[in-house]
């Protein structure tokens, strides 16, 4: 696993990808921190929460090549014909992408140090947002990795990852819309308004159940929920498992 991890992590810096991702992140983090700082009140928690909105750009950049590039170059044959197991391949690659995220996050560490040095606050709520940030990074990277497994075209992989993450980020809004739509649909076909609105809220709750942002919103207040973290972890592992299956299936392909 370490071999794959090392190669994959270093390959970010053999191409522009690693530098581009780190630059974008540093610019965004620096910009957010600077605007807070210039107002005189720094809130690391809200900086980290703002940075979450950029998963949709940064994750596809760092995951698009993970497996697609191997397939295109023909180097994926090494994973099947050497004693290394496919599990280790998947694990090594996801860790490499995750490690790049950790490197990017050093920006925020610097901001924390600056904040503390200037006598600012770094409370338990901010710690909560950072924990959520990393669990979400893992989940989105897994989605991106799956997108990279199903194609040998990096652009397609990036677009698919972008769509996955976008849908996840819009789940809060989508659950509202779905609920309202069901309620109004139910009233127009003559169902009593009470049942109509309860059907609507049931749909809203159902769609909203999958929303990782709603599940973790109390972390910023210092209220931690283990089940929410397990949820993020499970979705991530689910996508990694699907990635593994896609790789394994290639061997048995009938086409």
């Amino acid at each position: 696993m370490y071999a794959i991890f090392k190669r994959e992590f270093l390959s970010y810096f053999r191409s522009p990808v690693g530098y581009v991702a780190i630059s974008i992140f540093s610019f965004l983090a620096g910009f957010i921190f600077y605007s807070q700082f210039s107002y005189g009140t720094v809130n690391i928690g809200s900086e980290v929460i703002s940075l979450r909105s950029f998963f949709v750009i940064i994750v596809p950049i760092i995951t698009m090549g993970l497996l697609a590039e191997d397939k295109k170059r023909g180097t994926d044959i090494l994973y099947y014909t050497t004693p290394v197991s496919l599990f280790n391949v998947v694990a090594g690659k996801v860790l490499a992408a995750f490690a790049l995220y950790a490197v990017m996050f050093l920006n925020v560490v610097i901001h924390i140090i600056v904040t503390l040095a200037c006598g600012g606050q770094f409370g338990v709520g901010a710690v909560g947002t950072i924990i959520v940030f990393f669990f979400m990074a893992f989940m989105f990277i897994s989605m991106g990795m799956f997108a990279s497994a199903i194609t040998d075209n990096q652009i397609v992989s990036a677009i698919v990852a972008f769509i996955f993450i976008l849908i996840t980020q819009l789940l809060t809004m989508m659950s509202e819309y779905a609920g309202t739509a069901v309620t109004s649909l139910a009233s127009t076909i003559g169902i009593k308004s009470e049942s109509a609105s309860s059907a609507g809220s049931a749909v809203k709750n159902f769609v909203g159940w999958f929303d990782p942002f709603a599940k973790t919103q109390d972390f910023r207040l210092g209220v931690f929920s283990v089940s929410a973290l397990i949820f993020l972890l499970s979705i991530g592992i689910l996508f990694l498992y699907m990635t593994y299956r896609v790789l394994e299936k290639k061997r048995w392909s009938q086409a």
Partner: protein
Amino acid sequence: MIEINNLVKRYGDKKAVNGISFTVNDDEVLGFLGPNGAGKSTTMNIITGYLSSTSGTVKVNGHDILEEPELAKKEIGYLPENPPLYTDMTVKEYLDFICDLKGVSKDKRKKQLDRIVSLVKISEVYDRLIGNLSKGYKQRVGIAQAMVGNPSILILDEPTVGLDPNQIIEIRKLIKSLAKSHSIIISSHILSEIQEVADRVVIINKGKVAAIDTVSDLSKRLSGQTKLLMTFKGPLKEGIGKVRTIPGVQSVVPRLADSKFSQLEITIVSDSSADIRSAIFYMMANESWPILEFRSLDPSLEEVFLSITAR
């Protein structure tokens, strides 16, 4: 030693490999021959564990490739048709990565890599990016990759394709030197190439084994097919007539004729053991028709199949 038993690979309705069985003995070079699309690469991909067969078994030194994949894969070094190279790494970094993948321990690594690098002659490009290497060097790095981990079996899929003649000779030499300590399966669609390096030949066509034979026996079988190509300065029709009169000549087919010279393809009767080349030479000299080119024609793969399946 590799034992391949009744291998079948089905793609939808089409059987790419249809019941192939053969064995490769220790320290033997086995030529794997067939036209493009015969199932060579598919078979090799199955032997190395890259693809799974629909049915049939592959045993590598007694380890089944599906049941004990890690043990089986340790015994095999594979150079696929397109060498699996990371163009963004240097040769050194790449071979180091392969050592990691194959689990070569740190203390043995340097010695092993030194040996491989000097054997395949890539020391002068060791610190260069693979993406910047010529095709011949890339192919050698591919072979080096296959040799990492000291596998007892090397499987090389068309190792000389796309190389220039000098590089082909170099790679052949390399394969011959490797043959002393490895079992090697080498595939090609060129008969003469296989004849030079292999001890035994498996010929496959349309997913089935057409023949398994030693190289010398194969040549004997093909001796009935001897053909000569001659280009001479002189009239075509008279030339055909004259050559036909020589005993042992079965047929004479005109290949090419223009104002400057004529070209004939001469087939010699299978039971004729006599060398008729000198007879032809003296006859042409008598007629004052200078011979511009005179050579024997290698049988094409199609002819090999015809002669093999005809018997």
